[in-house]
Symmetry: C2
Subunit: 331 residues, 2 copies
């Protein structure tokens, strides 16, 4: 067996993340104790929330210590099991982080069926991002048929599921994404009614054109200027699901929102969400997501980086919107 | 009968309201038609929302036209009735605006009982401000006993009711008000656990001291720097009732909020409210408010300006926090 390879947090970012914030290290492959499994990771998920974990600030989850392996969800194969619930060769979903091998208690990993769908789907449409979209939409936004929903980061792992689920509910769906390719894909493949390239300028005017009846739901993944602009076009009794604020994560100073008054005037309900809060109910979401995927109603696109060494560059690109679809690293 | 006197909107404010935005005019006392009543106004309510009506912008209610009588709620006495539901001498709550006499359809005024409580109470604790506090607290904030609630404009018409109702619910209540007198009153008379003078500086540190377990509910009447500071101290799953943003109403440029990220990290639910949305249910609130007032559990303070001519000055002072308690004009 080769040695383990890991990417650790070398330095906390000041503003934008740089390659120097990470370091590749070698370490012995760990040995599983009783009740544990050793997993060879095959896929690593890269997600915007990881940016938050790089800061030494109190949040809903602990931050990564300097010198520690970067956190992240993984899909891999059990190569040694010290627990009867799992055996060598099983494919499992785990949170083993940015490394080639990891050990975890068997009860903290989930066996997945890699026969009917690719194993990597459990990091995206059938994983945290898909579940996030499902609960944000159904438990917070609660859109009604005929309402207009706007979704930012519209072709990303969460946004693409939220937008397609809203189409299934009968909404008019308008995406916001960076670049013509993503916007074309959102309309042609994901079935959105429109998609606006925020890099092309005039966001407010284009959004107003695309939402002639105003905006009833904003499924917010971007934040910053995008959220602020959307706020100014929201209808009375509309809802904002604050799911992600990727545009803010790399700013040294937070973006300063000017349209808070719209919350009062239009009685907007704005609510933050972290998927962990639904932990006991993931299966509600997954059952429906699996069905939609099996029936071909949920399109899903992956953006794949090759090799652990390329994880930092792929992550930095993700934070700038350089990915197109769910960002993964093939290990 | 003397002539009617009215205050009309003379010019739209650019930034802070000035006396020049108003003009006193004389007009004939109007004559009621069939189904209408003529009312001699005795009390005029001054409220922060009126600032919004002075701007020519689309909002939840129409703006005041240039040259038109300023809008506002009034309590007065029927002096001529062309409807069998009301008779001369009845005290009524109406929305006759900034003038001495007004005519309204009988079905648009509400007869009030001025025997058990002063008639002016129907413009405050037993009127829109009290109802606003009740629904904001019970329908949106939903505080639990033991939770910490912060209320800004803490001794004002809405804030004082919201804070006292929260005390009745068993909350720790921390007010924010301008000046030592108001803060002393909030603790000694309204029964708050603490009250912070935002003009004394160090708002965040003092608020943190007064809320050792963080903030679970913010009943927001002020906005601007106050709301932004409160946001930074809110607990996971906390609620912000956006009831008023008086600190913003007179700014030429909106205040720019930097702590939106707290909404995501702490899964804050922030919701705007306008009391009209509960129109069919006012009596639910009023029944309880009347009971609390009758039992002496709700303290209520009025700030009274004498004479219609003094309404503009009193309104300008109100917007700067110069009132101490519910602002009225005795006509």
């Amino acid at each position: 067996m080769t040695a383990n390879k890991q990417i650790v947090l070398a330095a906390r970012p000041q503003g934008p993340v740089t390659p120097g914030n990470f370091r590749v290290v070698e370490a012995p492959v760990p040995t599983p104790g009783p009740g544990e499994v050793l997993v060879k990771n095959e896929w690593l998920s890269l997600d915007p929330y990881m940016r938050g974990r790089m800061n030494e600030v109190k949040s809903y989850a602990p931050y990564v210590e300097l010198g520690a392996v970067m956190v992240g969800q993984t899909v891999g194969e059990v190569i040694e099991s010290k627990d009867e619930s799992l055996k060598r060769g099983d494919k499992v979903l785990a949170a083993l982080g940015w490394q080639l091998y990891g050990v975890a208690p068997a009860r903290e990993v989930t066996k997945v069926d890699a026969g009917s769908v690719p194993a990597s789907y459990y990091l995206g449409v059938l994983g945290m991002p898909g579940i996030t979209a499902w609960f944000g939409l159904h438990d917070i936004a609660k859109p009604k048929a005929g309402e207009t929903l706007v979704v930012s980061a519209a072709t990303g792992a969460v946004g693409s599921v939220a937008g397609q689920l809203a189409k299934i509910e009968g909404c008019r769906v308008v995406g916001i994404a960076g670049g013509k390719d993503k916007c074309d894909y959102a309309v042609a493949e994901l079935g959105y009614d429109a998609c606006i390239d925020y890099k092309a300028g005039d966001l407010r005017d284009r959004l107003r054109e695309a939402c002639p009846k105003g905006i009833d739901v904003d499924f917010e993944n971007a934040g910053g200027e995008i959220l602020d602009t959307v706020l100014s076009l929201m209808n009375p009794f509309s809802r904002v699901v604050v799911c992600g604020l990727i545009a803010e994560y790399s700013l040294a100073e937070p973006y300063r929102y000017r349209n808070m008054r719209a919350v009062l005037v239009n009685r907007i309900r704005m609510q933050g969400m972290i998927v962990f809060d639904w932990k006991g109910r993931y299966e509600d979401a997954l059952a429906e997501l699996r069905w939609h995927v099996a029936e071909g109603r949920l399109k899903y696109r992956e953006s794949i980086a090759e090799g652990l060494e390329n994880a930092p560059a792929a992550f930095i690109a993700l934070l700038r919107g350089g990915n197109f679809g769910k960002q993964l690293v093939k290990l």
